[in-house]
């Protein structure tokens, strides 16, 4: 029997070793093996394996170049070479393609980063699939509204009565208040919320210290974030159990330290107090009639949401024994709440997802516009390459190899563009981040890189597909003879693509215009009250105790024009009540009136105008006076309201005045009924400052507050900044769409420029002959631009109805909106036409001024 060398070692040798050395190495090794085997088989086997391993050296390893496909590799190399030479030879179209594609891709990348971030907001909770938020559909006079506020006992009722619920918690996510936390004279203002004990079982906010099952179980507990811990204690070590003073009123023990919140969390807070502590100070939250906190539930696996919703629909009705029939609770996934936050008439109606979709579509369009440039320029310049195609076909190139050639050319240019695009993104990312208010970064992980390469391939395929199939179709005989059949179809396709580009551009221009006008309208439209130069201070500590003194003292500061206090922050919905009764009220009517507690002088300071009657005045006993806005009077259907009596929470109140309607909510909302009642103790201090003296007055105020209210750093907000934040999304869209529309039109024009340049060059001789025959320059310009004018006009014609519908639907979300004027559309069309003319004009004028003797001399 012949000795058998170790199989694995031999296999390995054959796998790695170069074919041309295998004979020598394997042969020698085997020979030695056989000789050794006679002495000692075991040793021989070991030695053989060792020898194989010692041959595993760079010199003997097979090259990775596949020897079976050398032809393909060579063709690939050849294609790249031809592509490179073409780029060098036709620099202008190469540059146009490069600029267009790279800015298009950069734009798409930026939008991708933003969209990706939006998608991941609040998705980091490990329980995201089972974590639901309880919302309520509330019937109102004007239709159903949906609220995220619920009654305090909801969570407990759900947890005990519904077997599907694993845990239920109450918290105050939408009401992050800024309170003073202090430790040994170190006063820090921080944002906080209240949450019930099982909070950390639902939400994946990571604790770095403390047990997540216990940190909120004692009502004397406070959980703080790392950042706050550093501010307060200067460290995050050994602080559990230490005492923190809250609002200089109560003491809490630190029971846990939270990792700083993920950027992808839609709620931001610095500390958590227990909901038990909240109940202690706010017993109104114990009943089912008041709504304010939010309720979240963790459902058991496999719960049928629709069935569950049916089960809880009557929860509030049962608990209130039929006294709050207008409220129907339901649950919706918390992870979706960020993107799908808008409800209309109790039905889900989009939300931020609309902007996510909008921008995704814009990104797609811009990349498409850039691709079209590539298609148009390559097909238009096909005549220059038809000889190449003819030659290749004549020597036996198949159609498929030509297709591959053009596709690899387009992919190559896409790859180059991508590199430039990445550079562009890196450059503009900081600015982009300020616009979108995020902290986006380029992060090259595997998924992203693969995605990028996929994008390049896809773009390359789209851009290259039409030229590839078009060019490879040429018949070698005809093209080598020098004939190029300009099929009618091909010209049409080119025109169609240009029209498509301009249609998209015009739609974008109209959108920018409409968004801009609406934003401008929001900024300048009279709100019915004045929000400028007013700051809001929360009354706390000594200010709360001696409000009257404080207000009269700050009025003495020079630059303060007026000061008063109220219960409403004048921006958005604060809180409402249906506890108003008037003669003839339908007892089932649960329409809420916005509750605006006010002190003397507040209505005057805000510049709200009195329509009838009077404002609150110290000259009258106004403790049971009430003032409505017009919407309120209209809802109650009172004619000649002054002097009439209504009941507020069961108390008789006399209507002393009616104010003109003012827009305290965003322009998306109709003006809701509202009322003022006198409450000198209302919590928001508002101060009107003389224009231009803001800094000075605030400095004075800070100084004054340090003495008057020690321990509470002054925390102020500008009313108009608050107001702006209502339109954060719209402002963003306005700015971004401006850039995107600019980019779209730029890329389209680049393409048009390329086409026009090509045509002018091709018709060089024609122009010469026309000039010889006496044509004027102007006639030639007209002749050359007529085609493009027609294309742009067609684009205008197509785009106007589309943009009208889009604009209309966007404006539809505003209760107060601009009218769509005809000149928005005509204007946008004209802009596009002028830009197109300008682009083509430069070239045609240059072409028309050619000296005929020069262009006719050749041949």
């Amino acid at each position: 029997m012949k000795p058998i060398p170790p199989k694995r070692a031999l296999q390995f040798l054959r796998w790695f070793c170069r074919e041309d050395y295998l004979d020598e190495i394997e042969g020698d090794l085997l020979e030695i093996f056989r000789k050794d085997y006679e002495a000692s088989p075991k040793l021989a086997i070991r030695k053989f394996t060792w020898n194989v391993l010692k041959h595993f050296r760079l010199e003997y390893i097979k090259s990775f170049k596949s020897h079976h496909h050398t032809n393909t590799a060579d063709m690939f190399h050849h294609n790249l070479l031809i592509a490179y030479r073409n780029f060098l030879r036709y620099k202008s179209s190469f540059l146009i393609n490069l600029i267009g594609l790279s800015s298009g891709l950069a734009c798409a990348l930026l939008i991708y980063l933003w969209v990706n971030d939006e998608w991941h907001v609040d998705k980091f909770h490990t329980n995201r699939d089972r974590l639901y938020q309880v919302k309520e559909n509330v019937e109102q006079d004007g239709g159903m509204i949906t609220r995220i506020t619920t009654s305090g006992p909801t969570a407990e009722a759900l947890a005990t009565e519904m077997p599907e619920v694993e845990y239920a918690v109450t918290n105050t996510f939408d009401h992050i208040f800024h309170d003073v936390l202090s430790i040994e004279g170190n006063d820090i203002k921080a944002g906080g919320l209240y949450a019930s004990a099982d909070f950390f079982k639902l939400f994946s906010f990571e604790l770095i210290q403390g047990n997540k099952n216990q940190v909120l179980s004692d009502k004397k507990s406070i959980v703080i974030t790392e950042g706050l811990a550093k501010q307060l204690f200067g460290t995050t070590e050994n602080i559990v159990g230490k005492t923190v003073e809250w609002q200089h009123k109560k003491q809490y023990q630190v029971s846990g330290v939270l990792q700083d919140l993920p950027a992808l969390s839609s709620v931001k807070f610095d500390f958590i107090l227990t909901f038990e502590a909240f109940k202690e100070d706010n017993n109104w939250v114990l009943n089912w009639f008041n709504t304010a906190p939010q309720t979240f539930v963790l459902l058991k696996e496999g719960t049928d949401i629709e069935r569950f919703n049916k089960k809880i629909a009557d929860l509030v009705r049962t608990k209130t024994e039929g006294n709050a029939n207008h409220r129907t609770p339901f649950i919706a996934r918390y992870a979706d709440a960020y993107l799908y936050g808008k409800y209309e008439n109790g039905k889900q109606a989009g939300g931020r997802i609309e902007y996510v979709r909008l921008f995704s579509i814009i990104a797609l369009f811009i990349v498409m516009i850039a691709c079209i440039n590539f298609m148009n320029l390559s097909t238009a310049r096909a005549s220059r390459r038809m000889k190449e195609v003819g030659m290749k076909k004549a020597v036996g190139a198949r159609k498929s190899s030509l297709v591959v050639q053009y596709l690899s050319e387009s992919t190559l240019i896409c790859l180059l563009s991508l590199l430039i695009a990445i550079l562009l993104v890196v450059l503009v990312l900081p600015q982009f981040n300020t616009i979108v208010g995020k902290n986006l970064t380029l992060h090259f992980n595997l998924k992203f890189t693969v995605g990028l390469l996929g994008l390049v391939l896809l773009t390359g395929l789209i851009a290259g597909s039409y030229p590839a199939f078009y060019l490879s179709k040429f018949k070698p005989v005809t093209v080598l003879k020098g004939k190029l059949n300009n099929f009618a179809g091909e010209v049409w396709a080119r025109k169609g693509l240009v029209i498509f580009q301009f249609t998209l551009s015009i739609i974008l221009i109209v959108s920018v215009w409409v968004v801009y006008k609406q934003i401008q309208f929001i900024q300048t439209e009279k709100l019915g009250y004045s929000k400028n130069n007013i700051i809001i201070i929360r009354s706390e500590g000594k200010i709360d105790e001696k409000k009257e003194t404080f207000i009269s003292e700050i009025q003495k500061i020079s630059g303060v024009m007026a000061a008063s206090n109220g219960g409403h922050d004048m921006t958005g919905h604060n809180g409402g009540t249906y506890g108003i009764e008037w003669p003839g009220k339908d007892p089932e009517n649960r329409t809420e009136f916005e509750n605006m507690a006010a002190n003397y002088g507040l209505i005057e300071m805000l510049g709200i105008s009195i329509k009838e009657g009077r404002s609150f005045s110290k000259n009258f006993a106004d403790s049971s006076s009430i003032i409505f806005n017009e919407a309120g009077i209209k809802l109650m259907g009172l004619s000649d309201p002054i002097g009439k009596e209504v009941k507020l929470w069961g108390r008789n109140m006399q209507i002393v005045g009616v104010v003109n309607d003012f827009k305290f909510e965003s322009f998306h909302e109709q003006i809701k009924p509202a009322f003022f009642w006198l409450q000198p103790n209302a919590p928001n201090i508002m101060i009107k400052i003389e224009a231009g003296k803001e800094q000075e007055v605030i400095a004075q105020l800070q100084k004054f507050c340090r003495e008057f209210n020690p321990g509470f750093p002054l925390d102020y907000r500008f009313l108009d900044a608050d107001y702006q934040s209502l339109y954060a999304a719209e402002n963003r869209v306005s700015i971004l769409s401006k850039y995107f529309a600019g980019l779209a039109i730029l890329i389209s024009c680049l393409g048009l420029f390329g086409l026009a340049a090509f045509n002018a060059e091709r018709r060089n001789k024609e122009i010469g002959i026309r000039k010889v025959l006496g044509s004027t320059d102007f006639a030639i310009v007209r002749l050359l631009s007529a085609d493009y004018t027609k294309m742009v006009l067609t684009a205008i014609f197509i785009s106007l109805p589309i943009s009208y519908i889009l604009a209309k639907s966007w404006l539809g979300s505003f209760a107060f909106r601009i009218e769509l004027e005809w000149w928005f559309f005509v204007g946008a069309g004209l802009i596009a036409l002028l830009i197109a003319w300008f682009t083509v004009g430069i070239l045609t004028i240059k072409a028309s001024r050619v000296n005929p003797s020069e262009c006719l001399r050749g041949e």
Binding site: D23, E24, L30
Partner: protein, 108 residues
């Protein structure tokens, strides 16, 4: 052209190839060297040295016939080229000329 140099082990292998004349292949070289040097030599070291001196042009190779002993693999025979011979001569000359310069004193 760059003058190639010859390492110590490469020189030994080249000398062995020259000695074995027409019968020089991996295993024969290995055995010859082991015998002369009276120590174990690694076959991979010989293969590498052969490859290098072949790349430098000091030896040329041809394949022999298939033998049963080698599992059907051919032997690769090496022969010294003219360049290789000149290299060996030059090395020898250098050494002996240097050797001759050694003063004739006794080495303790």
């Amino acid at each position: 052209m760059k003058q190639h140099t010859l390492g110590e082990f490469e020189e030994l292998v080249l000398l062995m190839v020259a000695t074995l004349h027409d019968e020089a292949y991996g295993v024969a070289i290995l055995e010859g060297l082991e015998e002369k040097l009276e120590k174990k030599v690694s076959i991979s070291a010989i293969h590498v040295a052969l490859k290098r001196i072949e790349d430098k042009g000091f030896v040329k190779s041809r394949f022999g016939g298939i033998t049963e002993d080698r599992g059907g693999r051919r032997k690769k025979f090496y022969a010294v080229t003219g360049l290789g011979k000149r290299m060996l001569d030059a090395q020898f000359e250098l050494r002996s000329s240097l050797y001759k310069l050694i003063p004739k004193i006794s080495f303790g």
